[in-house]
């Protein structure tokens, strides 16, 4: 269905090619998963399929990419629109119209489908993706998962043979991600569409895919999941656990792993999982009491009580729209609560003059580049030293510690997503705020970058910061957090030590705990540790 014939691609301002002699065939009806580290060229590969690369990006493409026999050399993306449905990383910026129904019809309008056929197809897609209730809603009032499903639906109405998705679940909570993936699964099974998707959160998608394409240094290797996962450096926890326990064949899904697990369970029976040392009697950093907040007449927070101590990493979880971001914004004083009190070391953040705010609380937003203002990393760090009123060079030194590879003269927006996140973190941490808030810090980060960010955060917590992170990433929570707070509908529904909270919840449980439940193992590391003891 999709053929890459000896494809080499180089962006015009770069010396090294992103793709090197790629020869790859993706057969019809397959769900293929594209893997690779950040910056390995995944997005380039995906965009080459419908000709956005090179027609939109420029650069030099040698070789032939063709879909169903139509080559991108002779066809513009628009002429492939009836063959390839392309869903970009951020569906919201790709929306052309305002309402769900109009968005679904847009591709068909462009292709000149007759009105009666359009009516019928829109109804079919509404049913197929479970969007019937939302048909008249403006796109901007939908939740992230709903928006992603509309984006998928809007390209499906053109009845393409191929569906290309760039990180379809990275912004979604586990439940919404499940919904989207289930829809994709159904499309592959019922309609025989060929799907190719790139995703960093392997733990979510691995079980659904038929084959894996691994992109390393511009070259592609492909194979079945169990084959490639034996050696792949990028792998979800279930694979790491399988390798550690020596399971053969390597289980890909939770279900297979659970069936292979009894011997491991027996081995672990006498051990208990090592947990993060929770500081006792640590100084209290922040208290929230009976906090209420509303946008207009819509209540978002209802009576939230929360205490945050020094040295803790608290994870704030809950579905999209549960009030997590709002809670962070109230904590940092950007929003004024309707009722209730916020105290950080005894001070109300809204009463603090702007120039002193960073000494009390720091907030790293979901899009770290919103924080940037200078034209180079060096200038950004200098500006940060002035803002944070610390000695010149402090921020730069911090950055050298966290991301040594970043050069001074790079433009902040040209950094990779992971590097942007680390730079934003440095800008905030330079002033040593006792309370540090992060909103979705691992969105779009690969496993190595996530690991690095995790190490940095643990270091900060140990040096006495209290960290609160809003996240959908259950594996990150299992590895880092000392405490988990789950929000639902503006209220706190669970608040306790990580293992207790997440192993109880089917939605927020990490893979390891799903495999070894009801025991409270949550990370591969814990098990590796226990097995070492067992051998010793």
């Amino acid at each position: 269905m999709i053929r890459f014939d000896n494809v080499t691609f180089r962006y015009s301002d770069e010396a090294e090619p992103v793709l090197r002699n790629v020869n790859q065939e993706i057969p019809a009806g397959e769900l293929a998963l594209l893997l690779g580290a950040t910056g390995s060229g995944k997005t380039t590969f995906l965009r080459a399929i419908n000709g956005l690369v090179p027609h939109f990006t420029g650069g030099h493409l040698a070789g032939v990419v063709s879909v169903n026999g139509r080559s991108t050399q002779e066809h513009q993306p628009r002429e492939l629109a009836d063959l390839v449905g392309f869903v970009p990383q951020d569906p919201v910026s790709g929306f052309v119209t305002d309402l769900v129904e109009d968005e679904l019809a847009y591709s068909m309008e462009c292709l000149g489908v007759t009105p009666s056929v359009m009516r019928r197809r829109v109804e079919e897609i509404l049913d197929l993706l479970g969007l019937t209730q939302l048909r008249t809603r403006p796109l901007h009032t939908l939740s992230g998962g709903q928006q992603q499903r509309v984006a998928i639906g809007s390209v499906l109405t053109a009845q393409p043979l191929v569906l290309v998705l760039d990180e379809p679940t990275s912004a979604l909570d586990p439940g919404a991600a499940e919904e989207v993936l289930a829809s994709l699964h159904r499309l592959v099974h019922d309609l025989g569409i060929t799907v190719i998707l790139a995703e960093h959160r392997l733990e979510r998608v691995m079980q659904y895919c038929d084959s894996i394409l691994l992109l390393e240094g511009g070259e592609i290797s492909s194979g079945s999941p169990s084959e490639l996962m034996q050696t792949s450096p990028i792998a979800p926890p279930v694979i790491h656990l399988g390798r550690l326990a020596g399971w053969d064949p390597l289980p890909i899904s939770i279900r297979d792993a659970r069936r292979a697990a009894p011997p491991l369970r027996a081995l672990l029976a006498d051990h208990s999982p090592a947990v993060h040392a929770v500081p006792t009697q640590a100084p209290r950093i922040a208290t929230l009491r009976k906090l209420h907040f509303a946008y207009g007449n819509q209540s978002v927070l209802r009576g939230v009580d929360l205490d945050l101590d020094a040295g803790e990493i608290t994870a704030l979880m809950g579905r999209n729209g549960a009030g997590k971001s709002t809670l962070l914004r109230v904590l940092v004083g950007l929003k004024e609560p309707l009722k209730g009190s916020v105290r950080i070391n005894g001070v109300d953040p809204r009463a603090v003059p702007t120039s002193d705010l960073l000494r009390h609380v720091g907030f790293v937003p979901q899009q770290p580049h919103d924080l940037f203002e200078a034209l180079s990393v060096g200038a950004e760090c200098k500006a940060s030293d002035t803002d944070a009123k610390c000695a010149p060079g402090t921020t730069r030194a911090l950055l050298a510690l966290m991301a040594p590879e970043v050069a001074d003269n790079t433009h902040p927006r040209d950094l990779s997503e992971g590097q942007q996140m680390l730079l934003a973190l440095c800008l905030i941490v330079a002033a040593k705020p006792p309370l540090l808030l992060l909103d979705e810090p691992t969105r779009g980060l690969d496993y190595p970058t996530k690991k690095k960010l995790g190490e940095v955060l643990v270091g900060l917590a140990q040096s006495g910061h209290s960290i609160l992170l809003a996240t959908h990433d259950v594996e990150l929570v299992a590895e880092l957090a000392t405490r988990v707070v789950i929000m639902g509908d503006g209220e706190i529904v669970a608040n306790g030590p990580t293992p207790a909270v997440i192993t109880d919840s089917p939605m927020f449980a990490p893979q390891v705990s799903k495999i070894l439940a009801p025991e409270r193992w949550i990370t591969v590391e814990q098990i590796a540790h226990a097995l070492e003891q067992e051998l010793a």
């Binding site: 993306p77 628009r78 790709g94 000149g112 009105p115």
Partner: protein, 369 residues
């Protein structure tokens, strides 16, 4: 009346008629009434959708227009009138800048004249803003003839960027505060420019890519002969139009001949556009219908424009439309009638669908900040 979307064409016809009416007068009372009717209609028929929020921006824009206009008059004003308010030190400019003045005596009449003039432009901006917030600009696209579709898209994309830019600026201002920066004052405001622009650029590229990959701009291949005919038509129609206009302006040919040449040029231009439309493959999904409420809303606008045009043609109404600066402007009875007619869409149009209470009450609406 059942809640539904009114045909966007009706809103635009209403609003453009009001704008045209506003351009006929500098009488501040009449202009205030026009703004008033726009406010009344928007307040009662504004949808709870993103574009519905843009009206405040246009009110703000109107205020800015008046302020800037008066400020310029204050600094560069030519000294007409006799009521001197303040004497600014004047700067004498070299002879070649004849006609321009800086400083000097500022008169009440000059400032008032500037205010009237600013108010007129502000009124036009506000009534157009009213249409922009009442009807989704993208829905208007459905009604645009195929040949103009591309042009329409660029205008609509530009229009929808205004609310997004304000949202971006708000967000980045918040982020500045997080870094301990003062965001008040001119410098704070100016520092937002670059990041907001960078964000807008990123977004427009994503949008362009998304539109292209979904088939926007596809057209049928024209035959080689057809292509030559098209080029020939464009060149001929443009040349004829230019010759016609030249002849009209210079009176080198008789007016009759000039009109015939110009008319042929325009006609051929129409044929060219029609042919261009033929190569497009676009179809329209569920086009908006035109029913009685649409007619009532457009009729309200057209009636108001007619009242103003009739008044304009009456000699005895000249002072009402452009009042003297030293007397209190008059408010004629027909002004009040026009105001009432202009406000009728607040009752005669259907309510927009209630978007926040959807069929499934269990689904939470995520509030975007």
């Amino acid at each position: 009346m059942i809640a539904r979307w009114l045909h966007p064409g009706a809103w635009w016809l209403w609003s453009l008629s009001l704008a045209a009416a506003a351009s006929q007068t500098t009488n501040p009372l009449l202009l205030a009434l026009l703004i008033g009717s726009a406010v009344i209609v928007v307040a009662s028929r504004k949808p709870q959708a993103p574009w519905g929020k843009s009206f405040n921006f246009f009110l703000f824009l109107g205020a800015m227009i008046i302020t800037i206009r008066v400020l310029f008059q204050f600094i560069f004003g030519a000294g007409m009138g006799t009521t001197i308010l303040i004497e600014l030190p004047g700067i004498s400019l070299p002879d070649w800048m004849n006609g321009l003045r800086v400083g000097g005596s500022v008169t009440l009449e000059a400032l008032l004249g500037a205010f009237y003039d600013g108010l007129r432009i502000a009124t036009i901006a506000i009534v157009i803003g009213a249409a922009n917030s009442l009807a989704s600009p993208t829905r208007l696209l459905k009604a645009i003839p195929t040949a103009f579709y591309e042009l329409g898209v660029s205008i609509v994309v530009a229009l929808t960027f205004i609310p997004q830019l304000t949202a971006d600026a708000g967000r980045i201002r918040e982020m500045r505060r997080l870094r301990g920066k003062n965001t008040k004052g001119v410098r704070g405001f100016a520092s937002l420019g670059l990041p907001v622009l960078a964000g807008a650029l990123d977004r427009s590229i994503v949008l362009a890519e998304s539109m292209d990959s979904r088939g926007y701009g596809r057209h049928r291949k024209e035959s080689a002969v057809g292509h030559r005919i098209s080029i020939g038509l464009v060149l001929t129609s443009l040349s004829l139009a230019i010759i016609g206009i030249y002849a009209l302006l210079t009176a080198s040919l008789s007016a009759m001949v000039a009109f015939i040449i110009l008319g042929t040029g325009v006609l051929l231009g129409g044929v060219t556009l029609w042919r261009a439309g033929l190569t497009r493959v676009r179809t329209v999904y569920r086009p908006d219908t035109w029913a009685l409420p649409e007619s009532l809303v457009s009729a309200a606008g057209v009636t108001v424009l007619a009242i103003f045009l009739i008044a304009h043609s009456q000699v005895n109404q000249a002072l009402v439309l452009t009042p003297e600066l030293n007397t209190w402007p008059a408010l004629p009875i027909w002004g009040l009638i026009a105001f009432t007619v202009a406000s009728t869409p607040a009752l005669s149009s259907p309510r927009p669908p209630d978007l926040n209470s959807s069929a499934d009450a269990t689904l939470k609406v995520e509030v975007r900040t």
